[in-house]
Amino acid sequence: MAKIIVVTSGKGGVGKTTTSAAIGTGLALKGHKTAIIDFDVGLRNLDLIMGCERRVVYDFVNVINGDASLKQAMIKDKRTENLFILPASQTRDKDALTIEGVEKILDELSQEYEFIVCDSPAGIEKGALMALYFADEAIVVTNPEVSSVRDSDRILGILQSKSRRAEQGKEPVKEHLLLTRYNPERVIAGEMLSVEDVEDILAIPLLGIIPESEAVLKASNQGQPVILDNEAKAGQAYGDAVARLLGEDVAHRFLDVPKKGFFKRVMGGR
């Protein structure tokens, strides 16, 4: 049986799709057969971040409606072995998703895959509820700012009350906090919440801290998951997060202000 992981946040623009792409790719790189599903029906983005937008023929809603088989709709990633993407429909809306339809697809994927990463849309409406309903684990993506933290808190409440595990009284969904766009300099300046602040408010285990990085935007625009960028700190941090997700004990990095080199100090550059 596959492990179903939902990447969610409540708030939009915090890095859910970037995280789904990076974590999914990271799991596949470690040799686990992984599917990433875009639940953001109507605002499909995952295909762009994964750089497979030109290869989308059938989508999630087509499979739910029986217009296409799952095999036809799954897009095999060209860069990474073991990685497949199920894109969202761009022409439909979230009402096209049904519990039964989603369950059928997840059941079928579970036979073949080890991990299913569900990329949730923002908000707490139907699309987001569908994405988290079947989850075994949840990665809650949070930016170090108050509104994002509050929305994450809200989504954690929903995970513990409206997921299938909650409804059936099973072991609760395992929660992971992923802090993205973290900038230690701004934390010291008091402009950003610190890791400790966020952990204190949300009270769930920390999966990783992704430093704010220009590499993320570059990777998105190039259609290449940032985890493949070994040079970038953000890519390395996602690598660490994947290792922790798989149970490895890896120390957190990139929490301190980077020391400026001699050249930068002289030039006063950043």
Binding site: D153, G157, D200, I201
Partner: protein
């Protein structure tokens, strides 16, 4: 059984009771406006029940229709009157519901209807309602209500969450949301918490907002209780 298109069910709701002490139209509107401004989210659209027990001598002069209109104009939703024999007819004429008279709690002036003497059987039936215990964090947007009993939260209550109890409330994590004890009118109810960072504390409808808290009590272990209708917060 025939297949009926509806089902009748009994249910209990919390409503705000508006207890009139005296009434003059202008004064009422002005003071009500002020009250709503203090806590618009708590009061707007909330169901209101009028209780005239404390101004029974003046009640004859009150035009109930005007009173209801004043409340509606400010966004409240009057749903009924506490019944009071002398005015039941006039109250009914407004089209709102007549609710059972209040109990003697709070020193109401009306006479209690003679109650049947409780026999030994009735006493035996009185069962203790166990406290409601919550071990998980109460997250933003969640609401926990302990009916007829105390509420014990072993974890935190997040900002934007709300915990309510007919009895006392204990919170052993950070209390960052709202806590309302004695929501059914129990003025002896108290709130106890380990780390007071609340948005609002209320006992039997008497509330204080975070901006009115003594800053020295922030993140301290405190209790909140009513002392002559005034909500007091003291360190533990």
């Amino acid at each position: 059984m025939t297949d009926c298109c509806f089902q009748l069910k009994g249910s209990v709701f919390t409503a705000v009771v508006l207890e009139l002490h005296r009434y003059s139209s202008a004064e009422f509107t002005r003071e009500l406006e002020q009250k709503i401004e203090q806590a618009p989210q708590l009061l707007l659209q909330s169901p209101i029940v009028f209780n005239l027990d404390k101004c029974i001598d003046q009640a004859e002069e009150i035009d109930f229709a005007v009173l209801i209109q004043q409340c509606r104009a400010l966004g409240l939703q009057p749903i009924g009157f506490r019944s009071c024999a002398r005015f039941n007819q006039a109250m009914e004429a407004t089209g709102l519901a007549l609710l059972p008279p209040s109990s003697t709690r709070g020193g109401s002036a009306i006479q209690k209807p003679a109650q049947p003497v409780a026999g030994p059987e009735a006493i035996e039936k009185r069962v203790r309602v166990p406290s409601k215990i919550i071990t998980q964090p109460v997250r933003s947007g969640q609401q926990i209500y302990a009916r007829d009993c105390d509420l014990i939260v072993m974890s935190q209550v997040s900002e934007g969450a709300e915990v309510l109890a007919d009895g006392n409330i204990h919170v052993y994590g950070g209390l960052r949301g709202r806590a309302l004890a004695g929501v059914n009118g129990d003025e002896t109810a108290r709130i106890f918490c380990h780390s007071m960072e609340a948005e609002l504390l209320s006992v039997a409808g008497n509330f204080i907002l975070s901006e009115d808290f003594d800053p020295q009590l922030w993140k301290q272990s405190v209790q909140a209780y009513l002392n002559e209708e005034k909500l007091c917060i003291n360190p533990l």
